[in-house]
């Protein structure tokens, strides 16, 4: 049996009459990159929101490391090891890049470490922030406020903030949306290097080609239903997927 990090068991979410998710089951193994693809409105972001506790699941279960985390408060889920980024970047506009990396480490250490000046009370947190700053190549913008940064860098800051929390699983919601080729490749390389550190990634993406040579496994959502899954090649050649996804999204 495989070593599952994240397991979703028949998760459903209904908004009014819309079945945004219908009994979706999927798994993410430790240390791998798994992709979720599907057309607009398929329920991909909703799935992330349920996993992270932003939305309450109407039924089904979410397990992290064989522990039920279904419908926990968001901060408890984060602390148990799931960090995420957002489809529409959500940084803290008035805070600097450096401050983003510190604030995300709130659950490391005692209350005194949190109350005293971080620079001398918690050198470990600063070291971690420095490390992540370096990893994401953000040292040059260390003291810039988030709102003053270009879009591509904001995306990287958001990823960096998630990574500072030392999660076991990273959820990325369309991390390269709106990026040019070069920026997207940059993010791809970062993801591969993150995987090497042992981090598992669940990735939402529109662009089929981008996930093809990145993910070890793909799930395809359409109207809240899991219509296909498998290796990227299997999924690419699955007629159901071609019908539902590629045909419809040919212009993207």
């Amino acid at each position: 049996m495989k070593d599952w990090l994240l397991q979703l068991q028949k998760v459903s979410k209904i908004f009014g009459g819309i079945h945004a998710l219908s009994e979706v089951s999927c798994t993410v193994p430790r240390g791998e990159i798994v992709g979720i693809i599907g057309p607009n409105g398929a329920g991909k972001t909703t799935l992330f929101n349920v996993i992270t506790g932003a939305y309450l699941a109407d039924s089904g279960n979410v397990l992290l490391d064989d522990q039920f985390v279904t419908n926990w408060a968001p901060y408890r889920i984060v602390r148990s090891g799931i960090a995420r980024t957002f489809q529409n970047i959500r940084l803290f506009p008035s805070m600097t890049v450096w401050e983003h990396l510190l604030v995300a480490q709130q659950h490391s250490g005692s209350i005194f470490r949190r109350l005293l000046p971080t620079a001398w009370a918690d050198p470990a947190a600063c070291e971690r922030a420095e490390e992540v700053l370096d990893f994401f190549d953000l040292t040059a913008v260390r003291d810039r406020e988030a709102r003053s940064l270009p879009y591509g860098i904001q995306r990287r800051v958001e990823m960096a903030r998630a990574v500072t929390m030392k999660p076991k699983l990273l959820l990325l919601d369309e991390p390269v949306a709106g990026m040019n080729q070069e920026e997207a490749e940059n993010i791809r390389q970062l993801m591969l290097r993150l995987r090497e550190t042992g981090l598992a990634i669940l990735l939402i993406e529109h662009d089929m080609n981008f996930v093809m040579n990145l993910c070890s496994y793909l799930y395809v959502l359409d109207f809240g239903i899991l219509i296909a899954e498998g290796s990227p090649t299997e999924v690419r050649n699955n007629p159901v997927v071609l019908d539902a996804y590629l045909g419809q999204d040919a212009d993207a």
Partner: protein, 278 residues
């Protein structure tokens, strides 16, 4: 120092504490228009303790701060459901509740007011004001403060990066209330007479005004705002009857030129050189 100026400095010190109490709550994105209520609670508890129970002022202030802090936490919970203008109005309602309770609270003089406190010097007041200002400035360099700012900037995102937003907002409310209570205790022992009318809506507005004017993104802003708010009307005495109009005009001008208030983080960084040229 003449008694006249000493009185003004005492007022500024007390206003600074009130402004800081608003500043801390505002740092999490919550606007409280009810801090005069907590100030009133502090004034009455402290006076009760020193006059009726007979304990020294310093421990009395600390006890009052703790009690007011707890009340702040209790008030903070229902306030969690409210945002922006609705929260401001709810806190205003709370302060009015406190005021009308005090009006009918005959043990402490009711509408007739209460006296018998021993006068404290401006120096003693500023030990508290300066000390708490310093404390807040140290706190501003801590992670808890970053957590508060994160809640201020985007509460949902803050929750989703692992912050316990409820605890942070309630905690800020409690801390702010405790500081307002100290302002009240000092006020009572400086003026040696209190009545419920001392803790009305205008005083809550003064606190907010000092923060907005001085700058709401750095604690020293509250200091600048408090000093200006107390001394500026004095300097405009030559305008006689037009004094308050002149003062109001100045306020409007400052806020038009510097919407973020006189001090902000960027300006403060430049002033203190805390960062080497970036």
């Amino acid at each position: 120092m003449s008694t006249y100026y000493a009185g003004l400095f005492a007022d500024a010190g007390i206003l600074l504490l009130g402004a800081l109490s608003v500043y801390i709550i505002l740092a999490t994105g919550q606007l409280s228009l009810g801090n005069a209520g907590f100030m009133g609670i502090g004034a009455y508890i402290t006076s009760y303790l020193t006059v009726m129970v007979g304990i020294p002022l310093t421990p009395a202030l600390i006890i009052a701060a703790i009690i007011s802090g707890i009340i702040g936490v209790i008030v903070g919970f229902p306030a969690l459901r409210l945002k922006g203008i609705y929260l401001a109005i709810a806190t205003l309602g709370f302060a009015e509740m406190v005021r009308s309770f005090l009006l009918n609270f005959d043990t402490m003089g009711g509408s007739g007011g209460f006296h018998g406190m021993k006068h404290v010097t401006v120096g003693y007041i500023w030990i508290w004001s300066g000390g708490i200002l310093l404390l807040v400035m140290i706190l501003e360099r801590s992670r808890i403060w970053l957590e508060m700012r994160a809640v201020h900037d985007d509460e949902t995102a803050a929750g989703l990066v692992g912050l316990n937003t409820v605890a942070i907002k309630i905690g800020a409310f409690g801390f702010g209330s405790a500081i307002a209570a100290i302002a009240g205790g000092l006020f009572a022992h400086h003026h040696v007479y209190i009545e419920p009318g001392n803790f009305g809506f205008e005083r809550s507005v003064d606190f907010v005004l000092a923060v907005i004017l001085g700058g709401s993104t750095a604690a020293p802003g509250a200091l600048v705002g408090s000093i200006l708010l107390v001394f500026l009307p004095e300097m405009l005495r030559s305008l006689a009857d037009w004094r308050m109009a002149g003062f109001g005009a100045l306020l409007v001008i400052v806020l038009l030129v510097r919407r973020q208030g006189i001090l902000d983080r960027a300006l403060l960084r430049r002033l203190t050189f805390s960062k080497a040229a970036s």
